[in-house]
């Protein structure tokens, strides 16, 4: 692999990476769970209508019951301060750190992380981010037209793509090819495109694999040896892993089960996920902005009668993903889910539209990275599935399997 590597003192001790404190109240975890979906929500009192922040268990004005509601994200910066000294290990690594108070258009005044370009009196948009410790945090950015990435404080909350090294686990599929193309176009230093066997002579002439800053590598997530060898061939730093591997086949449980395909779906989606994560997570953990992005089917949420094996494998993958996210909290590595419904590809020829274009999945992957969004739903089908599942999972499962 020939990417330009940053210069590092070979004798320097490995730098320990810290994350912000993780301990939070239950109400705060409820906010984090919503922030992870990219929503800007605050609690509003069901009795007096007062909107409150930070999260609480009861309305501070009338003791009424609070409910989560999407809120306008605008506001005005009231004041700022720069923290230069802290006993917190994470913030000590990132001094100086700017914070400020913002009068939210939604009502409350909030203590926020402040973008370098903002000053008291400025109009601002407040983003509900997930910090490196996995908790919601408000970050005020200029209302328009600033290069957010120029602020090192902002970069702590997102995953830059430009100049980074990324691996795409299965680049042979339509999704995989689109992701390789997108990462390359968005300025990744090197995109390593994993190709499961059997290899084809035609791969050598493939336009995507011949792009500048793209290299192919043999990688089959069903084979632990192959994953280990791929890691050894990549060798050096790796910032981003995008897991595009999946095995979509039709088949039921009692009717037309297709055990060979069912087993393969589990080998790819579930066991493949574990093989990939166990090999690459330690490599990502050594990086300042490591991220593991997993593309999974929204049928992971509910099962799917005509693709029972695939949906079950994706459900297993979803479960493993949650465990990996928890394991990675202490390292600051972002674990991101990108849910999709049926894709416009060879695997979904039997499905009528609407289907999601692979290029749209690819741009959503990059969008999730650049915005530090933990959970993304691409396309109407996935968004609808997630909304219905969040609203009434029992009803959704029933409806999806009628």
């Amino acid at each position: 692999m020939t990417a330009t590597r940053e210069k590092r003192d070979p004798l320097a001790r490995k730098r320990l990476r810290h994350v912000p404190m993780g301990l939070r109240s239950r109400a705060m975890h409820a906010l984090s769970a919503r922030a992870a979906q990219g929503r800007f929500v605050l609690q509003a009192c069901t009795e007096c209508g007062n909107v409150t922040y930070p999260p609480r268990d009861a309305c501070p004005q009338c003791w009424g019951e609070l409910s989560w509601q999407d809120q306008p994200d605008g506001g005005q910066v009231l004041c700022e301060t720069t923290v230069r000294v802290s006993t917190d290990l994470y913030f000590r690594d990132h001094m100086p750190w700017r914070m400020g108070k913002v009068l939210l258009n939604a009502g409350p005044v909030a203590l926020v992380h402040l973008h370098a370009a903002l000053h008291p009196g400025d109009q601002t948009v407040v983003r509900m981010m997930i910090d490196r410790g996995g908790n919601a945090a408000l970050f005020a950015i200029p209302a328009e037209g600033t290069d957010l990435m120029s602020d090192p404080q902002w970069r702590e909350f997102v995953v830059p793509v430009e100049g980074r090294i990324a691996l795409v686990s299965d680049a042979r599929s339509a999704i995989g090819r689109a992701v390789v193309k997108e990462l390359q176009a968005r300025g990744a230093e090197l995109v390593v495109a994993g190709l499961p066997g059997p290899s084809l002579a035609a791969d050598a002439n493939d336009a995507v694999f011949n792009l500048d800053r793209v290299q192919t590598i043999a990688l089959d997530v069903t084979d632990a040896t192959s994953v280990a060898e791929a890691a050894s061939r990549i060798g050096g730093p790796l910032d981003i892993v995008v897991n595009t591997a999946r095995h979509v086949r039709t088949g039921g449980v009692s009717a037309n089960p297709g055990f060979v395909e069912q087993r393969r779906a589990f080998e790819v989606s579930a066991m493949g996920f574990s093989r990939l994560a166990s090999t690459f997570a330690p490599i990502l953990a050594g990086r300042p902005n490591g991220a593991f992005v997993d593309i999974l089917s929204s049928s992971a949420l509910c099962g799917e009668v005509h693709q029972a094996g695939f949906a079950a494998a994706e459900a297993a993958r979803h479960s493993l993903l949650q465990s990996l996210r928890q394991e990675m909290r202490a390292t600051g590595v972002r674990v991101m889910s990108v849910f999709t419904g049926p894709v416009e590809d060879a695997d979904h020829q039997h499905v009528p539209p609407p289907k999601v274009a692979p290029s749209r999945i690819a741009s959503s992957v990059v969008d999730a990275l650049l915005n530090g969004r933990e959970q993304t739903c691409v396309g109407d089908a996935a968004q609808d599935a997630m909304e219905r599942w969040l609203t009434d999972p029992a009803l959704f499962v029933r409806e999806k399997n009628l």
């Binding site: 066997g197 059997p198 290899s199 084809l200 002579a201 035609a202 043999a218 089959d220 069903t222 084979d223 632990a224 040896t225 192959s226 060979v260 395909e261 393969r264």
Partner: protein, 263 residues
């Protein structure tokens, strides 16, 4: 000592002293060894997979062992008659029922390396075999027929499976050649270096899959993914090929060895 006793004792001595050389004709069974790729409407062959249970570690401090999985037709492997529909009713057609006396048979090695190098789709025909016999002598009955194509030298490269836009390209026999070998020469089976006993393009033949269809329909065997065939003499070597005793199995990965007399 009876004649049979001294024969076996002499063989053991000859092997020990090297006057009978044992040559391994088996490829290494590894996860990256290619398996046959069928058109996408059919079920596919699983490659070899290995996961370590323990390696002198917490899961087994003093021992090393792996769980393995594969298709019956992965790596260097044996095809039993039941592998093909034509052989479904053949007596003793599954690997567990292969008679012990069929574990050991002499071999005739037909060299098609030059032809296969010239033409990746080289077809072994009956006229080719008859011309070969005129040059080399008749093929004796109850022998393995091995086709030395030097295809094993391609292992580790894309040109082994040799998949192109229109499918796989590799040499193999046509139906007349197979009928000649089975009915007129009473062969034990066909052994090849390629991933299948049939040619890469065999599904497009007038009689598709002739080797599988005719061999197995007549109770004969197949050996695939062999290597080191360039070390065998044309006549005079004996093959030891013992498939695993898989209950009702259609084939099996196995170790294949040749006994070669050295002068």
């Amino acid at each position: 000592m009876t004649a049979a006793q001294s024969l076996v004792a002499d063989l053991a001595t000859a092997i020990a002293t090297g006057s009978v050389e044992i040559v391994d004709l088996t490829n290494v069974l590894s996860p990256d060894f290619p398996v046959i790729v069928l058109p996408s409407e059919f079920g596919q062959c699983e490659p070899f997979r290995m996961e370590t249970v323990s390696r002198y570690d917490g899961s087994g401090p003093a021992w090393y062992w792996n769980n393995i999985s594969m298709n019956e037709h992965t790596g260097t492997h044996f095809d039993a008659p039941a592998h093909w529909i034509t052989g479904k009713d053949v007596p003793n057609g599954t690997v567990d029922a292969v008679l012990p006396r069929d574990f050991v048979h002499p071999v005739v090695v037909i060299d098609i390396a030059a032809e296969a190098a010239q033409d990746e789709d080289f077809i072994v025909t009956r006229p080719f075999l008859e011309a070969w016999e005129r040059a080399n002598g008749p093929i004796p009955p109850r022998h393995w027929i091995f086709l030395r194509s030097d295809w094993s030298k391609r292992v580790g490269t894309l040109s082994y499976l040799n998949l192109r836009d229109d499918g796989a390209h590799s040499p193999g026999p046509d139906a007349d050649a197979m009928r000649f070998l089975v009915h007129d020469r009473d062969c034990v089976g066909l052994g090849v270096e390629t991933v299948g006993t049939d040619a890469g393009m065999c599904s497009h033949f007038d009689e598709p899959f002739p080797a599988h269809s005719i061999l197995h329909g007549n109770g004969r065997f197949g050996l695939q993914c062999l290597t080191n065939l360039d070390r065998l003499p044309t006549f005079g070597a004996v093959i030891v090929a013992m498939p695993l005793k898989i209950k009702g199995g259609s084939g099996s990965p196995l170790r294949v060895a040749a006994m070669i007399p050295r002068s």
